[in-house]
Amino acid sequence: MADENVEVLMTIVTALKGLNPEVQRRTIQAVVTFLGIQLEPSPKEASNSQIQSPTNELSNRKELTFSKNRDMSPKEFLREKAPQRDIERVACLAYYLTHYRDVPHFKTIDISTLNTEAAQPKFSNTAVAVDNSAKAGFLVPAGKGMKQISAAGEAFIQALPDREAAKASQSTTRIKKRPKKATSRIVKSNSK
């Protein structure tokens, strides 16, 4: 051991001598923590993994990475939003594709695939469900046979699972309804 090391050691020992053992232990731990020193665990410590010193906690700390994907899975997302009807489920899946998968324009097959990934019951007819969702104003055409979520659809999904808020968002949205076919009324007159 070099002379200066011995000198430092003597200084530390002298300084610690007057303290009680518990304070000595904590002071050494503080120095180790402060200097970021990783100590080899003694065989006794290594066998007793239940006891964690603050130093070990620091050295065991998992560094948080920005790039790690911590997004909600489609299954969790649907559980969270709790859609009640097929058209709402389609809108939820469309919302997920747009904002979690960066797929703003999609085809029916994309909805169907994501629905399977989300472990949801199969649509009896996905094309019809997508079409109905579009009729309800949740989806709009995006060209080349693709669909995209509408502003009204986004507002509706963002408000879920609060159904009242979701309903309120719909009430202010103007959904274009196809005019119903005029049914001819035949009035029979018995009067002669």
Binding site: F34, M72, T98, Y100, Q158, T172
Partner: protein
């Protein structure tokens, strides 16, 4: 914050606002410019009223923290004014944090100094809720303040910067909480420590436009990203430390505050909440009142629920 505080006061709560931003925006909002200037001029003296006035003896190494009396700005809403000199203390806090790792009493006293000042003011005035207004950064001052809070709320504008800020905040908080856990374990006995467990109460969506009752599509995309980021980069990250620090849900939005147009400058000029300003559109004032009341109720409910659970 002023609007939420006023809404809480209307619900019968006593609220203390602490301007912990050296830029003093909150103080300037609530108090006339000349008065603020006088306060700042006198803050070094014995009659100082700002947060720095209470900190100064400790910061100068000349004694203990002073007890200051907050200003009652409206019934039930109190203010501890900010001070530009708080930036001096922020510089000291970097060394103070290191001293905590070294188990020096000065370090612990320094890092808990603002907490003690605020606790004293809150006790003296029988306060129910304390709101810290902090600058938009992740510096040592905000670290000491956030570790003192039971809860935190993020005002999130519908823009790219807020999405990034949520990510940065999540990571910083994660590291701060873990560091504080170590410091607490190393701390000498019988010393006042920060709670070090700030729970994510949610975010408040701001700065967006409405059309036909809904957020316009450009802003809606950011609203979706904020909802997603608040979950993935705050809730999930904090829950890695402790499941009670955040909810495992996307429903972190406490409320939304749209652009209230000319109520903003009117409110700034008069130092009043949006719904109490003289002039302005009555419908908008009513909308503001309803929205802020709803946010205030949400905060009260969530914090009470949490207390009940614990």
């Amino acid at each position: 914050m002023i609007n939420i505080a006023a809404a809480m006061a209307n619900l019968g709560k006593r609220v203390l606002l602490v301007d912990a931003d050296p830029q003093c925006n909150l103080t300037s909002y609530l108090v006339d410019s000349e008065v603020v200037d006088n306060w700042l001029d006198e803050s070094d003296g014995p009659n100082g009223t700002t947060i720095w006035s209470a900190l100064k003896p400790f910061s100068d190494g000349m004694g203990n923290l002073l007890r200051i009396q907050p200003t009652e700005r409206q019934e039930g809403v109190f203010l501890i004014p900010g001070d530009i000199q708080l930036s001096k203390f922020e510089t000291d806090l970097t060394q103070i944090w290191v001293e905590c790792f070294q188990r020096k009493l000065h370090g612990f006293k320094g890092v808990t100094a603002i907490s003690e000042i605020v606790n004293n003011a809150a006790t003296d005035n029988d306060i129910d809720f304390v709101f810290y207004d902090v600058g938009p950064n992740i510096g040592p001052l905000n670290r000491a303040i956030l570790l003192d809070c039971d809860y935190f709320i993020v005002p999130a504008a519908c823009d790219l910067f807020s999405v990034r800020a949520l990510k940065t905040l999540g990571k910083s908080l994660h590291d701060w909480i873990l560091d504080w856990q170590v410091i607490s374990q190393l701390a000498p006995d019988n010393i006042y420590l920060l709670p070090g467990r700030p729970t994510f109460l949610g975010y408040i969506l701001q700065k967006f436009r409405m059309y036909g009752g809904n957020i316009t599509s450009e802003f809606s995309a950011y609203a979706a990203r904020l909802e997603k980021t608040a979950y993935s980069d705050i809730s999930v990250v904090l829950r890695e430390i402790d499941k009670n620090l955040a909810k495992a849900t996307l429903q972190n939005k406490l409320g939304q505050v749209k652009d209230f147009s000319n109520l903003v400058p009117l409110s700034q000029t008069q130092g009043e909440p949006f719904f109490n300003v003289a002039g302005g559109n009555a419908t908008m004032k009513n909308e503001a009142k309803t929205e802020f009341r709803s946010i205030a109720k949400n905060i009260i409910t969530l914090t009470q629920k949490d207390k009940g659970a614990s």
